[in-house]
């Protein structure tokens, strides 16, 4: 596809890097010469210097024939204008990053009038990610599929879990209602087969119905007690969205913010939140407010370093769930080793969200891919499809289907039923199919199922 990216900041660059690697034709528009020089020299993309809101620059970037425009400059208004102009010129799909909460309220109106197909709000996306994480305190990542029917949870296998030392084929017999989707061991992503043996220290993805997954973790004696209270440090946009969502879920929220003016503003807009004006990195403030009594500590200040230090303090004081916002770090493994395994980065989340919808767009013509979800830091992916009538792989037991190597059929959703498929199960027309594979391994369903073995 022809993709135009306006704004070559962190998000824009990350997007360009991934998209050009996936063989899309990427053109970057930016005003800054240095940013463009870096992109031309390191990526296989075309760079156009100019203002993304300027029609001439957009034409030069090929907006008349482009498939997607992604506006991710620092300026919300410019992003909207870019999308509007590109759409008028003939671009098929537009994605804009709009972060100011002031616009969020009138978003539906704006989106319709400005003809923006998708609005990405990094702060709200991050808030949603955090609120998902709070549902399972031990989980490192949670994602839902098939309109929330199916859940996929990533967690770290510890020495207390009794799923180690046994091949998966036997584990399946014990836990028939969940699927083991992907494993990360020594930094390598593996899609496990029946003979795979889970070890301590693996990062494991399990999927299934919400109830089944919860039951699985209960049997493993994991901490499934829901989070009932949370302390938020820093009163930025993410805190605003997050506090709003968590209050609705019935959590007790304390929000610590150093700036009195901001505190006033937040307490005006947020109901049922205890606002505390103080330095969130100050140990005394944290002790006074009984930080260790909270189920969760969420560090969301503008400074990565402060977030990390406060987060580490929380881990040490035994807070059950610590989430840390880090924006500029390229080496999350380091924080992993320190014990901070729940890291949220709005910029990376934004890039991931856009990548997902671009991938879905590039597939939508042929095979109705509905969702692509990156696992294990993008090394593996889960794909959600709808099986169309007339495909060659329908109504054939999975054991007899030739499935591309390294691809796993994780879950089938048929009507209201969620099926963890075994060799005897088959796919029916209209089923939602969730597949897992290494990143970029699946183009469409026909690519995953290469044929049917003759019955012998």
């Amino acid at each position: 596809m022809n993709i135009i990216i306006v704004g070559n900041g962190k998000v824009g660059y990350t997007l360009a890097e991934y998209l050009s690697r996936q063989n899309h034709d990427v053109t970057i528009v930016d005003k800054d010469k240095n940013a463009l020089t870096r992109a031309t020299e390191t990526l296989d993309v075309l760079c156009v210097r100019g203002n993304g809101g300027n029609v001439r620059s957009l034409i030069e970037a090929g907006a008349e024939k482009a498939d997607v425009i992604i506006a991710v400059t620092a300026n919300d208004e410019l992003n909207m204008v870019c999308c509007l102009a590109a759409k008028q010129l003939g671009t098929r799909y537009s994605i804009a990053r709009i972060r100011d909460p002031e616009y969020t309220e009138s978003l539906t109106l704006l989106q319709e009038k400005l003809d923006i197909d998708q609005v990405i709000n990094p702060e709200r996306a991050a808030a949603q990610e955090i609120s998902r994480l709070l549902r399972f305190p031990f989980a490192m990542n949670i994602e839902s599929f098939a309109h929330g029917r199916v859940e996929m949870v990533e967690f770290l296998v510890t020495d207390q879990d009794d799923i180690t030392g046994e091949p998966l084929s036997r584990l399946h017999a014990r836990f028939p209602h969940v699927q083991f989707v992907a494993v990360q061991r020594h930094g390598e992503a593996v899609i496990p087969d029946g003979s795979f043996v889970i070890q301590m220290g693996d990062r494991l993805y399990v999927s299934g119905e919400h109830v089944a997954v919860t039951r699985f973790f209960k049997r493993m004696a994991k901490d499934t007690q829901p989070i009932r209270s949370a302390m938020l440090i820093g009163g930025g946009h993410i805190s605003y969205y997050l506090a709003k969502q968590l209050v609705l879920l019935g959590l007790r929220i304390k929000l610590v913010e150093i700036n009195r003016e901001k505190c006033r503003h937040l307490s005006e807009t947020l109901e049922d939140v205890i606002m505390i004006c103080g330095d969130g990195t100050d140990r005394e403030v944290l002790t006074d407010e009984n930080m260790e009594e909270n189920d969760a500590l969420i560090c969301l200040t503008d400074r990565d370093e402060e977030n990390i230090v406060t987060g580490l303090y929380g881990v040490r004081m035994g807070v059950r769930k610590v989430v840390v916002k880090v924006n500029r770090l390229n080496t999350p493994e380091v924080l992993d080793e320190l014990g901070l395994d729940n890291i949220v980065s709005p910029k990376i989340s934004t890039a991931n969200a856009i990548l997902r919808s671009v991938r879905a767009l590039s597939h939508s013509s042929s095979s109705r891919i509905q969702k692509v979800y990156g696992m294990l830091g993008g090394k593996a992916e889960a794909y959600e499809f709808t099986a169309l009538a007339g495909s060659g792989f329908l109504n054939v037991p999975l054991a007899r289907l030739k499935i591309k190597k390294g691809v796993l059929v994780c879950v089938l959703v048929r009507g209201r039923r969620v099926i963890i498929p075994f060799g005897g199960d088959h796919i029916e027309a209209g089923d939602t199919v969730i597949l897992a594979g290494k990143a970029g391994s699946i183009e469409d369903l026909d690519d995953a199922f290469t044929g049917v073995e003759e019955s012998t």
Partner: protein
């Protein structure tokens, strides 16, 4: 430096060269020209080295700017050395320096030859020699980029180092696609020229040799009297085609996309055509008396020579060495200017000359109005100051290389008699990739009489000129080789 990657990429180009030799081998067999075994042997040797280099697996495919430059420089040196094998192994040129000179002259599209009697050279070798023009014109690395699948995302450095002009731009986002588009345009134009020449009554071998020579703006011919061998209309046609290949290929891409606005906005080709027009007029007036006061003949001869020289092709229809001084001086100036950036031609390039001139005018304006703010604009766009100083640096380096080489070549005067004119124009003709100069190296002369040392210097000059100086000069900098 990522040496493993450099060798790996160079290997890819040698494989392409070996394939080109195989084509020449097949042709040589078909023509019974008797030189097929040496060509096949050369292809085998090149294949072995290319394949061997290809087996060196790089740890990463991280290609830095200087790695890209090194790949290009090394590739061109090796391609010239391997390209010399057919001449050397067949015994046509027993002196290996001669063989390398001839091969480098082919790939760099110089067209300078050490053959004194070109018509006695077997046809297989003549084809090979012209084929190197065609591949070298657009660039052997760009050719490899077009043919080979995915060579990594940082290949922009390769194209930058190999294409002509102050700033190489991609036509489309993907490097591989850009290379393919360029070669497709090149191929289509060449095929058109080939059929036009056939239609004019040339036999297919003459047509192919002269198509390769004009398309690559090289200038090898299979006749001693060059294009003068053909009838007047054919001469003019070849002149027109030379001129076409001297235009920036991005213009043809814009033409395909029907982006006439972009073509109209581009000032380089207009200036290029204007220079051709003025030079043709002046020379025609100048040689008018010599042509027996035949105006149409004077214009025809002048136009062909101007077109051939400004595009750095170097074909000749008349011995312009015997023309009056004004014409000779104009021709040497045209040698230095060259054609448009992004074409197959050599020389300084019209854009650079335009930037240099505008910069000079700006400096004059500045002395008159010290407080005025002056920007240099090209096609309605401001030229970055970095680009301007880059062009000035390039100009000095170009002159430096020419003057230094002229001194080195004139060392010949210890052993033989050589004129000032031929020393200087031999260097200009090789650095600008033209071929013939004045005096001894004039259109009817040859480079055969130079000493081996001078031939080596001139061979390097051709490579330095084709790669626009810095990639090759960089190889001599010790910093480039440090870890």
């Amino acid at each position: 430096m990522n040496r493993r990657l450099i060798f790996n990429l160079t290997g890819a180009v040698l494989l392409v060269e070996s394939a080109m030799m195989m084509i020449s081998f097949v042709l040589s067999l078909a023509l019974h020209s008797g030189d097929h075994w040496p060509i096949l042997l050369s292809a085998g040797i090149t294949l072995a080295f290319g394949g061997g280099f290809r087996l060196i697996h790089p740890a990463t495919d991280y290609l830095r700017a200087r790695d890209g430059f090194a790949v290009v420089a090394l590739t061109w040196v090796l391609v010239s050395i391997f390209g010399a094998l057919p001449f050397f192994l067949s015994g046509v040129t027993p002196n290996f320096f001669d063989a390398v000179f001839e091969a480098a002259s082919g790939f760099t599209t110089t067209g300078a030859t050490i053959f004194i009697d070109v018509e006695s050279v077997p046809k297989g070798l003549l084809f090979w020699r012209s084929f190197t023009h065609w591949a070298g014109g657009m660039g052997v690395l760009v050719l490899s980029l077009a043919i080979m699948p995915r060579m990594g995302s940082r290949t922009i450095h390769l194209m930058r180092a190999e294409s002509t002009g102050p700033s190489a731009e991609k036509l489309v986002p993907r490097m591989g696609n850009t290379a393919r588009i360029l070669y497709r345009i090149y191929l289509v134009l060449s095929v058109i020229m080939f059929f036009v020449l056939l239609a004019c009554g040339l036999n297919w071998f003459d047509a192919i040799v002269h198509t390769f020579g004009a398309a690559g703006t090289g200038g090898f011919s299979n006749y001693a009297d060059s294009v003068g061998h053909f009838s007047a209309p054919v001469q003019t046609l070849i002149g027109v085609f030379c001129m076409i290949f001297g235009v920036n290929f991005a213009m043809y891409y814009a033409l395909i996309r029907r982006d006439f606005k972009a073509i109209w906005k581009n000032g380089e080709w207009k200036l290029y055509f204007a220079i051709i027009l003025v030079a043709t007029g002046l020379i025609a007036l100048n040689i008018f008396p010599q042509c027996g006061r035949n105006l149409s003949q004077a214009i025809r001869l002048a136009y062909f020579q101007v077109s051939s020289i400004i595009t750095t092709t170097g074909y000749a229809t008349a011995n312009f060495d015997l023309w009056p001084q004004l014409s000779r001086v104009i021709l040497v100036l045209l040698m230095l200017i060259g054609s448009c950036a992004g074409s197959t031609a050599g020389g300084l390039k019209v854009t650079r000359v335009e930037i240099l001139t505008k910069n000079m005018l700006r400096d004059i304006r500045r002395t008159v109005r010290p407080r005025s703010v002056n920007l240099i604009k090209l096609d309605g766009r401001t030229v970055e100051e970095e680009t301007v100083s880059g062009v000035m640096g390039f100009f000095y380096a170009y002159m430096f290389v020419i003057l230094l080489s002229a001194v080195l070549v004139s060392i010949d005067s210890f052993v033989r008699d050589v004129s000032f004119e031929s020393c200087l124009t031999a260097v200009v003709a090789t650095v600008s990739n033209i071929g013939p100069g004045l005096g001894e190296v004039g259109p009817m002369g040859s480079f055969a009489h130079f000493t081996n040392f001078s031939k080596a210097v001139l061979t390097l000059d051709m490579l330095v000129g084709r790669l626009e100086l810095f990639p090759l000069l960089m190889l001599f900098s010790p910093d480039a080789w440090k870890k």
